[in-house]
């Protein structure tokens, strides 16, 4: 369980948000909403551990997330940048991605993950020949390759066509059914059943 209490963020002189409280239980998804510049990305970066937490607390099953090995191994953060190299193929990118996260995965695992996102037959093409949406799908395939418990996703369905959005919805739904958790920002409605989603609106 992830719980966030009294979290606040200031950028220079400006306070982005303060007193953010929410809990995320196994099998649920929190849809984080807010206007442009409300601090959604900053919040995700704080929760994932990229930015330091100035005030408030983020804890993972009762333990603070700072220097928490089990949290580091169980959360995955996907930001606006895809972290995929244009000169490498999707296969190479995903295997490398798993390797720096400390996992070794077989080519078969990666192939089936790419297949679920509709990239069958494009595993070995260099990323630069793929379209923007296809690159995005390949980046999302790391969710399946890494097998993390907590998915922290920043705008995962942006740049995706309708079938790909549905595919992301199916991934999320399957992940939640297995007891996973997701913290997602999106300006669009998430393509999963409403019963699984809690919403939180960030206010300045």
């Amino acid at each position: 369980m992830l719980s966030v209490t009294g979290l606040s963020c200031t950028r220079g002189e400006r306070r982005l948000f303060s007193g953010v409280d929410f809990q995320l239980k196994a099998g649920t998804c929190l849809h984080l909403q807010g206007d442009n510049g409300a601090g959604k990305t900053s919040l995700l970066r704080q929760v994932s551990g990229l930015s330091p937490v100035a005030a408030g607390q983020v804890s993972w099953y009762g333990q603070p997330v700072a220097d928490n090995e089990s949290f580091r191994a169980q959360r995955i953060y996907l930001g606006h940048e895809l972290a995929m190299k244009d000169d490498l193929s999707a296969m190479e990118n995903l295997q490398f991605d798993a390797a720096i996260a400390g996992r070794t995965v077989t080519a078969e695992t990666v192939r089936s993950a790419l297949k679920r996102l509709g990239l069958k037959g494009r595993e070995h093409l260099p990323m630069r020949v793929l379209s923007q949406g296809q690159k995005h799908r390949a980046a999302l395939a790391r969710l399946l390759v890494r097998q993390a418990t907590l998915w922290i996703l920043d705008e995962p369905v942006v740049a995706l066509d309708v079938p790909a959005q549905a595919a992301v919805g199916r991934l999320l739904e399957a992940h939640l059914e297995e007891g996973g958790m997701a913290l997602v920002t999106s300006h669009q409605a998430l393509p999963i059943p409403h019963a699984l989603i809690a919403s939180y609106r960030l206010q300045g």
Partner: protein, 217 residues
């Protein structure tokens, strides 16, 4: 290991990046004999300094790209978030940088040294100093590259930051060859270079890792 393999295979797909620093080294080292003319004594005297300065500038040339690419496309974020140790990942990147931009210079240096009429023993010492010195340059430079990451005008700032720190390596590297030709033996200089390399190998990945964490906040 995975980091080294990826960086090397990326570089091999974009060969121009390795070639730039290698060609830079070759051209700089060849311009001096052409400019000075066939004064064998002068050439022998300046050879260690010229080759070392050439190697130093060539290594500086490729430093800007050490972390910039990974920073731009978000790979660095994933490295910082990884449960593997960040200094370890950074150390692997530095090693890959040396394999791609330092090792070729070590291998080419005897050929270039012939233009300066260095004898076989002096060439051996020169290669030994570069073998110890170029990884040292990569390690020191990486700290500078990490500190200037994401800063505007980073390339100029990087040179200003890193070049003064290269001075000890230059002094002992070039000094070793001069000592050898003067008949004093180079072992003292080589030991000091090796000691500096060990110290840098221990501290530089940690310093880089902290600088990268700050850059990504």
């Amino acid at each position: 290991m995975a980091v080294i393999r990826r960086d090397v295979s990326l570089a091999l797909r974009r060969k121009n990046e390795i070639m730039t620093s290698v060609f830079f080294f070759v051209v700089v080292a060849s311009l001096f004999p052409l400019g000075i003319g066939p004064e064998m004594n002068t050439l022998r005297l300046i050879a260690p300094g010229v080759l070392w300065v050439g190697a130093l500038l060539a290594s500086l040339l490729s430093l800007g790209r050490l972390f910039a690419g990974d920073h731009q496309d978000g790979t660095l974020e994933q490295m910082v978030l990884s449960s593997a140790s960040l200094p370890g990942l950074v150390g692997a990147k530095i090693l890959a940088h040396w394999l791609l931009s330092g090792l070729p210079l070590v291998i080419l240096s005897p050929v270039l040294a012939l233009q300066f009429d260095l004898n076989a023993q002096a060439i051996e010492v020169l290669m030994a100093t570069l073998l110890l010195g170029t990884p040292l340059l990569s390690l020191i430079g990486a700290v500078g590259a990490a500190l200037t990451l994401g800063v505007r005008g980073a390339d100029v700032l990087l040179s200003l930051l890193v070049l003064p720190l290269y001075v000890p390596a230059l002094v002992f590297g070039a000094g070793a060859v001069q000592a050898q030709t003067a008949g004093l033996g180079a072992s003292a200089h080589l030991s000091i270079l090796a000691a500096m390399l060990l110290v840098a190998a221990v501290f530089s990945p940690w310093a880089c890792a902290s600088a990268l964490r700050i850059a990504l906040e």
